[in-house]
């Protein structure tokens, strides 16, 4: 298997293996992204976030089926938290997406956060680039929205959809605390259930407070399970995309994302360098001096930084 050329032809196994390399921080993954990066930037990236159980996976399966039926290629990345204790993960999103496993032109991958804070990590960013190079028109990224972690889906997606469901009062509180700002569209899912209108009103009244010129995030009632309202959601995303393009905003977002891509790689490089320095025998001796209070950690840290700069 020649992963690089097979990715360009959209070969499933090559794509899957490339993402594994990325996740494992295998040097082949980095080399690959380096080689294919110039072919990326064409896919439209959508983030779907919200509390566990709000119906994100079910909704994404519906969206993917709809987009694929319209002739588009759809890549899905579904991120679930890894266990901080075992490092393992139960990646549960596939259960709701099994029915689209055989849908032509749809690829789906479950990813564990593997200890990175924020839920979306370097792996997700770079896996997105792989799918982009493989010719996917749409990339849908699912992330859990516990605490602050949903904020960074905004760092990888052009359009962010926040999914809520009736009877999740905490979500409304979270919205007031700032999640609202990242939503380009809000979905009240499980509209087949009681209480959807109430949730809709609550969300609309919170959004109303910050209504301004430009894009005001629509709030949509959807039933992913009954496949109702999914086409409206896709239409809203398409409208948001046009809005970003006409505004020149998409270009600004792309510069911000380019910066984040560089930052991710820089962090990795700097961490590697730091760890190498920390392992040196000379550093060990300094650490012992910190332990016996002959010196202090600032002095040693500055010494290491100096050495790294001069060592270029």
């Amino acid at each position: 298997m020649d992963v690089q050329s097979d990715i360009r032809t959209g070969d499933t196994r090559a794509i899957a293996r490339a993402i594994t390399w990325i996740e494992n921080a295998d040097a082949r993954g980095a080399a690959l992204v380096h080689d294919i990066y110039r072919q990326t930037g064409r896919a439209y990236i959508v983030g779907i976030t919200g509390s566990p159980g709000s119906g994100k996976s079910t909704l994404i399966a519906r969206m993917a089926a709809l987009l694929a039926a319209g002739g588009a290629k759809v890549g899905i990345l579904a991120v679930d938290p890894s266990s901080p204790f075992s490092g393992g993960a139960l990646l549960g999103d596939r259960i709701r997406m099994f029915d689209i496993s055989l849908t032509h032109d749809v690829y789906m991958r479950s990813m564990g956060t593997r200890g990175s804070l924020g839920g979306l990590n370097r792996s997700t960013r770079m896996a997105t680039r792989i799918l982009d190079a493989a010719g996917f028109d749409w990339i849908l990224i699912e992330t859990v929205g516990a605490g602050q972690s949903e904020v960074d889906v905004h760092d990888v997606a052009y359009t962010t959809v926040v999914v809520l469901a009736p009877g999740m009062g905490d979500d409304i509180q979270a919205m007031k605390a700032g999640i609202m700002e990242i939503g380009d569209a809000f979905v009240i899912n499980k509209a087949d259930r009681e209480g959807a209108d109430r949730t809709l009103n609550q969300v609309e009244s919170i959004l109303h407070l910050s209504a301004a010129e430009g894009w005001n995030p629509p709030v949509l009632k959807v039933s992913a399970e009954q496949n109702a309202g999914v086409d409206e959601l896709v239409a809203v995303i398409a409208r948001h995309r046009v809005h970003l393009e006409e505004d020149g905003e998409l270009d600004r977002i792309k510069v911000r994302m380019a910066r984040l891509d560089v930052v991710e790689i820089l962090k990795e490089r700097l961490t590697d360098t730091m760890n190498t320095e920390l392992e040196r025998a000379a550093t060990q001796a300094e650490l012992e001096k910190v332990a016996t209070r002959e010196t202090d950690p600032y002095t040693v840290a500055d010494m290491i930084v100096d050495k790294i700069w001069r060592g270029r």
Binding site: R17, G88, L90, S101
Partner: protein, 135 residues
Amino acid sequence: MEEKIRVLVAKPGLDGHDRGAKVLARALMEAGMEVIYSGIRRTPEQIAEVAVQEDVDVVMLSCLSGAHNTLFPRVVDLLRQKGGGDILVLGGGIIPEDDMPFLKEHGIQEVFYPGAPIKATIQYVRDNVHKEKHS
């Protein structure tokens, strides 16, 4: 490099009992693996495709309906067709001892008895995963 063993725990066939599969999935997670659970009543075609898309190292098939002799080898065949012939395929559920040689001849590398200790299953996976896959 921080390799993780990825496992698909899959239920082909028509039986709707998945308590055992879920217990296994959790135990594998607690052993540090990344586990994808299929849900019930999946087809061999779906299972093989998902295994390739997810680039798993192991597929654990669990079947209680008695159709293992057709379903398990079918998954193995489809995996080979899709270029996933290097994936370790294991079986469990309710498999009569008499069927085990047949399954092993058809690419199921190991079959676990009902009630086999999960620890042994985990150890088997650790020892037999195709490490060369990533090299």
